[in-house]
């Protein structure tokens, strides 16, 4: 039977440069790695039976938990440092040999225990360096994470509102919400993200000295954090070219 021939891909054959560029951009689109890790962690939790919810059978509506995972991931990425997680650590999963057998032994036996955000052998980022919000372990109730009086949902809402304010260019409103976060939450889920956002907001408000001080403190405490490169990049922009 005659087999149909398939044409070269548009991105390789089209003479329309704009079209080729658009397809290249689309092909290069990678979802947030934090979100991807969260998905893998959730899958392993559910497979190991450690999650309250079983494997999802309904896909038409996002569950609250799923939405929270998404929101957390979005914050972790959008809070300015997220992309550095991957860019600084390179792609944690380089393209494998496509024809390689799947029966090859794994790098290391993986534990079937409750999931970590990402087993360290599979990534170039230490688990300890991942944003604390990237993949919440399933056992504790989210509301129990906030050490202060604030529930997890309130914590999330506050950080999101701060992020929104910053995205809109309202650094003062952002900082006000971050101050509120610091007042109401101790050792919260988004502690690191809040720290990064505070640096960004300080820069946006022209408080470069404060931003440098905060950035230096962050880097001294967490030099290997996935946010470290992002902070260095931010601080580099604050280096004075002339005396203010």
């Amino acid at each position: 039977m005659k087999q149909p021939s398939f044409p070269p891909r548009l991105s390789e054959s089209s003479s329309d440069e704009r079209l080729v560029d658009a397809l290249d951009v689309a092909r290069g689109y990678d979802p947030s790695p934090v979100r991807v890790r969260g998905a893998l962690a959730r899958f392993e939790a559910e497979r190991a039976g450690t999650s309250p919810s079983s494997a999802p059978s309904v896909v038409g509506r996002g569950t609250t938990a799923a939405l929270k995972v998404g929101a957390i991931a979005a914050i972790a990425v959008a809070l300015a440092g997220g992309w550095t997680v991957v860019r600084s650590g390179a792609d944690p999963s380089p393209p494998p040999n496509e024809t390689a057998s799947l029966n090859a032994p794994p790098p290391e036996p993986a534990s079937k225990a409750p999931p970590a955000p990402a087993p360290s052998e599979a990534t170039s980022i230490r688990v300890d360096d991942l944003p604390t919000a990237a993949a919440p372990p399933p056992a504790p109730k989210p509301a129990a994470r906030a050490a202060g009086s604030m529930s997890f949902d309130d914590e999330l809402a506050l950080v999101e509102s701060a992020r929104t304010a910053l995205a809109k260019g309202d650094a003062s409103a952002c900082l006000a919400r971050l101050d509120e976060y610091d007042r109401r939450v101790q050792k919260g889920t988004f502690e690191r993200e809040v720290a990064v956002m505070r640096i960004e907001a300080s820069i946006a408000r022209g408080e470069t000295a404060r931003a440098r001080s905060l950035g230096a403190a962050f880097l001294a405490e967490s030099p290997n954090s996935p946010y470290a490169n992002r902070i260095r990049s931010l601080l580099a922009r604050t280096q004075p070219t002339s005396t203010p």
């Binding site: 891909r9 689309a26 990678d30 979100r35 991807v36 896909v59 990425v77 032994p105």
Partner: protein, 197 residues
């Protein structure tokens, strides 16, 4: 009675299960992002995609022992995404289907050095492609996404979607026409808007 600790699924020893699950994890990890983007391109919304990915992962896990190569696993994951996206589309309420904000395409910026203008342009390009895909007939969009963006072969698409290769080729040809037309139209509209301001 055999120990439940020593014997797991289907009478396989726990050690074998652990090794098998580790193999699966190593194989599936790079494909999770593939699942995300294919589902998004096939119209699955931000609030739906996390659950949809889980369904795909469960399906891939169940099928894993029958799949020989990484390429086959990728093709299987992509085909599973097609099926799950169809299911999501059927279940979705009309209200939930409305809107396609740029924020749904949140991703890693390509580099730290990319400036805001570059990032905005990239995001707009992604949104444009997303918008065009949304407007395509589902069966054409599926083939277009798998062939043009995920770079599966025509044969892989045919095998995993269970349609004849000729049908895949036909859908691809029409999908490319649709995409080109919509792309040119979008740029023409943009040019007109530019002249109008």
């Amino acid at each position: 009675m055999q120990s439940v600790v020593a014997i797991g699924r289907d009478g396989v020893s726990e050690r074998d299960l652990v090794a098998r699950d580790a193999r699966f994890r190593a194989a599936i990890e790079p494909l999770v992002k593939v699942a995300y983007r294919v589902l998004q391109r096939l119209g699955v919304r931000s609030g739906e995609v996390d659950d949809a990915v889980q369904v795909v992962l469960v399906a891939a896990d169940r099928k894993f022992d029958d799949i020989a190569t990484r390429a086959d696993l990728k093709a299987y994951v992509c085909a599973a995404c097609v099926n799950v996206a169809r299911d999501v589309g059927r279940r979705r309420t009309r209200r939930a289907a409305e809107g396609s904000p740029l924020d749904e395409l949140e991703e890693d910026p390509p580099s730290e050095q990319a400036g805001p203008a570059d990032l905005l342009e990239r995001k707009q390009t992604l949104a444009l492609v997303h918008h065009i895909l949304e407007g395509m007939l589902p069966e054409r969009r599926e083939v277009f996404v798998l062939y043009e963006l995920e770079e599966l072969t025509g044969r892989e698409i045919a095998d995993h979607l269970g349609v004849p290769a000729g049908t895949v080729a036909s859908r691809l040809r029409k999908a490319r026409e649709d995409f080109r037309t919509a792309f040119e139209l979008a740029h023409a509209e943009r040019a007109n808007e530019g002249r109008g301001t």
